[in-house]
Amino acid sequence: MQKILAITWLTWKAAFRFRLFLVVAVLLLAAVVGLPLVLKDDGTARGFTQILITYTLSVITALLGLSTLWLSCGTLARDIEECQIQVVATKPVARWQIWLGKWLGIVSLNATLLVLSGACVYGLLQWRATRLPAAEQEILRTQVLVARGLAQPPDYNAEIDARTEQLLQERLKQTQISGADLALARQQIREQVKAYFQLVPPQYTREWQINLGFAKNFLRGKPLQLRVKFNTAQIGLSGTFVGQWRVGEPGTANAWYSGPMSLSPNAYHEFEIPADLFDSQGVLTIDFLNANNTTLLFPIADGMAVLYPEGGFTLNFARGLGILFCWMALLAAIGLASASFLSFPVATFFSLALLVVVFSSGTLSDAVANGTITGVNEETGTAGHFIADFVLIPAFQGIVAVVNVVKNFSPIDSLSTGRAISWGELGAAFGQIVLLFGGVISAIGISLFARRELATAQGNQ
């Protein structure tokens, strides 16, 4: 371990020697302090705080990400090209220790910079919040500077599947369906069955029951928030629909009535409901009256949810930074792995190309969904075919699967919307991003570095 730490210390010294630490630290602090001065917000304290969290953390991630790639590619590749590595490699230290020491050095450097800039962002947010009027502060504390958990009604998948199969079998007794038509018929029946769980016809009332689970034990006396979203086939001139809510225990006076509420379709609406409306089992019952002349559809996936205070912003913010740190650790591994077998400029280019692939995962997903890289003819609705599809589409599937695992952790989004980042989520991010992907890439990098003839690089100078 001492040998690894020695290499780590050398990496730190290199970062200071290159002025990298100083430059990145100054840039990060300038971004944190300067961004609030140039950002244009929607005019509300809530909106300003949300955009501040999003943009400052995004800038921190981008700056740290680029500097990480630069340093990780540079520290190893340049050591090899400038023959300094020969001095180190001839010492009684294994190649894997050199590689790991550099990785640890970069990662610890990142951690320091992340803590420094994160603390500035946190301090800025808290300082601004204290200068707001009490009402605005209350909104911030309940909607943004908070860690809110999410509870949703059951997804009814088992019931939907069972009912779909039942109806399909009945259909098959009447009509012979096979092959692709069978899949289509099943899908159509499933949508019909799902509609039963999603639709609220005109002048009808729909009820949802949401089990708050263990959270009920610490939610007594705390107001909750409903988050709802609905779709509709018809949009009138006003663009809004009127609905009324009743939340509380059925058949008791312990209920809250919203009165007519003007809501637009295809958008999330959050509104506060009083405390203690759930029953002793922790089940919250929500009724909605559709007072319009058109049917409203509340999607099962995200049509109805309860947001409840789960913890404080400070720890949540720290966990969010923890996930950003995991990303940086992966980038450091990628940079070092590419520098293990490539020269500095090529390693940098290679690493950046990998990032471009990550950012292009939407395009790759489209190709996978279409089953071809040639695109779909919009007029006929049919996809073309290309011989390379046999190789590329499975490759794209693999890349998209890997990229999605990393991208699914979205701490900036969660922090800006006041959503909780759980310890489990942080643990999963560490396990998947650092240990799994970082481990695999590190293993490849160490393996390549261990086999590399270090002295051959001298001829390039």
Binding site: L39, K40, D41, D42, G43, T44, R46, G47, F48, Q50, I51, T54, Y55, K229, L237, S238, G239, T240, M261, S262, L263, S264, N266, A267, Y268, H269, F271, S416, T417
Partner: protein, 516 residues
């Protein structure tokens, strides 16, 4: 030459060339404008960042702009709006001379994003952001672009002025609150804004010009040409911006397409029509809420506007639409004038309607209701009941009660003309019904209660301390009707001693006369 001297010389030369190119740029920009080489004008007093992005990024601007559009769209789909103002700012900064970009971003904020919030105050924020994007930035870089004037006018006219958004009254109230310091209780105050004398007046005039980007001199001209308007209401601003767009086009004809100007003219006419319907702001003296009444002083000018619009319109199909709209406007104007007890003017425009549209029915549900077949009284009564032949007992009673209630409300707020107008209308409807059922065998069955009883019922309801009008309104009403003052313990019927003046009719009545 020594290296150091050479470097200094080169630096001096570079500085001189830079200064020279700056001077040359001014000449080029001037020639560009004078010779009409492009429709766009060079950016003036643009922030350094904007000047940099529009020049330095070159063709990459499009790529960055595309990325920002995609992000804005994705965020909007996900219901995350807090970045929208920033993204719109960047997108428009990248394409400052592309008016459709400004128009779309402003429209998106004012119409699409605003309604996604359930709280009216949140919606108002977004309407304001859309308005500001056009007014403060879009027009700054595109001062001759009719589309931007039209879109800005449209926000005032449609989003705020019309009732399609259920928060429209909130918007009107907020705008009125913002305009009140400039225009005071009467909605016009140009002299002070043009030539402020006191420090407070100077500060207000400065704010009016700098924040709201409005020129009181032009506003006064607009008011003289199209008004008188109540400038606390959105319609006045809608007309202002459309008129300003027309004026800019008139001064710089080569920079605009003449076909684009029709939209601006329509904005003016449509806003005037809206102002006719609800362009008079009255602050309720009791609860301080805002009420919106027809602005009947606009009838003549609006009629002229329709004639002008008809003459200017090249499309025959559109000409028919304009005539149709003019007829509808005249029908409404006649009724509103009648309702306001401006009977002589109502008669004048009723006759005008008959002369200009003699072969078209004036009631929607009655194809035989040609102007020559109806009197003004019959028309006004039918406007309330929907059909001159309608003799439904319940509907008639309901209409009479409603009109009487409205009459007393107007009396309480001090609008004697409207009080008299509604009272007259209630009497006419009652009389017409009574005459129509007089020949029926079962008159007792279908007859209405005596008008005095109906009147007493309505008045008792309004003067009820628990369920009636606010205390101050009840007190005014009692004074106007010469009723005894209200006492804490009494809930007595006031009608036993009612006597009142009916302004405009010259009546001094006792209880029985209320049944007239």
């Amino acid at each position: 030459m020594k290296s150091r001297s050479k470097k200094i010389l080169l630096l001096v030369l570079a500085a001189a060339l830079l200064a020279g190119s700056g001077q040359m740029q001014k000449v080029l920009n001037r020639d560009r404008a004078q010779l009409d080489l492009t429709r766009t004008t060079p950016l003036k007093s643009a922030p350094p960042l904007l000047a940099f992005t529009t020049v330095a990024l070159g063709g990459f601007r499009g790529l960055i702009s595309n990325f920002l559009w995609i992000r804005a769209n994705d965020l909007q789909q996900a219901g995350k709006y807090f970045e929208m103002v920033q993204l719109a700012s960047w997108i428009t900064d990248l394409e400052p001379h592309y008016p459709q970009v400004w128009a779309f971003q402003a429209w998106n904020m004012a119409w699409n994003i605003s309604v996604n919030f359930k709280d009216f105050s949140d919606r108002w924020h977004w309407v304001e952001r859309g308005m500001e994007l056009l007014r403060d930035e879009g027009l700054r870089y595109n001062p001759y672009e009719p589309l931007l004037y039209q879109q800005l006018s449209w926000i005032f006219q449609s989003k705020m002025g019309q009732n399609m958004d259920d928060a429209n009254l909130y918007y009107k109230e907020q705008w009125a609150n913002e305009m009140m310091p400039f225009f005071g209780p009467n909605g016009t105050n140009f002299d002070e804004l043009i030539d402020p004398q006191t420090a407070g007046a100077k500060a207000r005039a400065k704010l009016f010009r700098e924040k709201y980007k409005m020129d009181p001199v032009i506003a006064k001209q607009v008011d003289e040409q199209w008004g008188p308007l109540d400038w606390r209401l959105p319609e006045a601003s809608a007309i202002y911006w459309a008129a300003l767009g027309l004026e800019q086009a008139k001064q710089h004809p080569s920079k605009v397409k003449q076909s684009d100007l029709m939209q601006l003219r329509r904005s003016i006419y449509q806003s005037m029509l809206q102002a006719l319907y609800h362009g008079r702001l009255v602050i309720n003296p009791f609860d301080k809420s805002y009420d919106y009444y027809p602005d009947l002083d606009l009838v003549s000018k609006l009629n002229d506007a329709y004639d002008t619009m008809y003459a200017e319109e090249p499309d025959p199909g559109q000409k028919d639409s304009i005539k149709h709209a003019q007829r509808n406007f005249l029908r409404d104007a006649v009724y509103f004038l009648y309702e306001d007890n401006r009977i002589a003017e109502a008669a004048k425009w009723f006759a005008y309607l008959g002369r200009n549209f003699p072969n078209q029915p004036i009631l929607d549900n009655d194809p035989n209701s040609l102007p020559s077949q109806l009197t003004l009284d019959q028309y006004a009564v039918a406007c309330v009941q929907g059909d001159v032949k309608d003799i439904d007992q319940n509907r008639t009673l309901s209409a009479v009660e409603g009109l009487l209630g409205r009459a007393y409300y107007e009396l309480a707020t001090g609008d004697d003309n409207r009080y008299a107008g509604f009272k007259l209308l209630a009497n006419k409807i009652y009389d017409r019904y009574s005459k129509q059922v007089a020949s029926f065998q079962g008159q007792a069955r279908v007859g209405l209660p005596p008008l005095a009883d109906v009147n007493r019922t309505v008045l008792n309801q309004l003067l009820d301390p628990q369920k009636g009008l606010p205390y101050a309104a009840r007190a005014v009403l009692r004074t106007q009707l010469r009723l005894p003052p209200e006492t804490a313990s009494t809930n007595t019927s006031p009608a036993a001693a009612v006597s009142t003046n009916l302004p405009g009719t010259g009546e001094t009545n006792t209880t029985s006369s209320l049944a007239k």
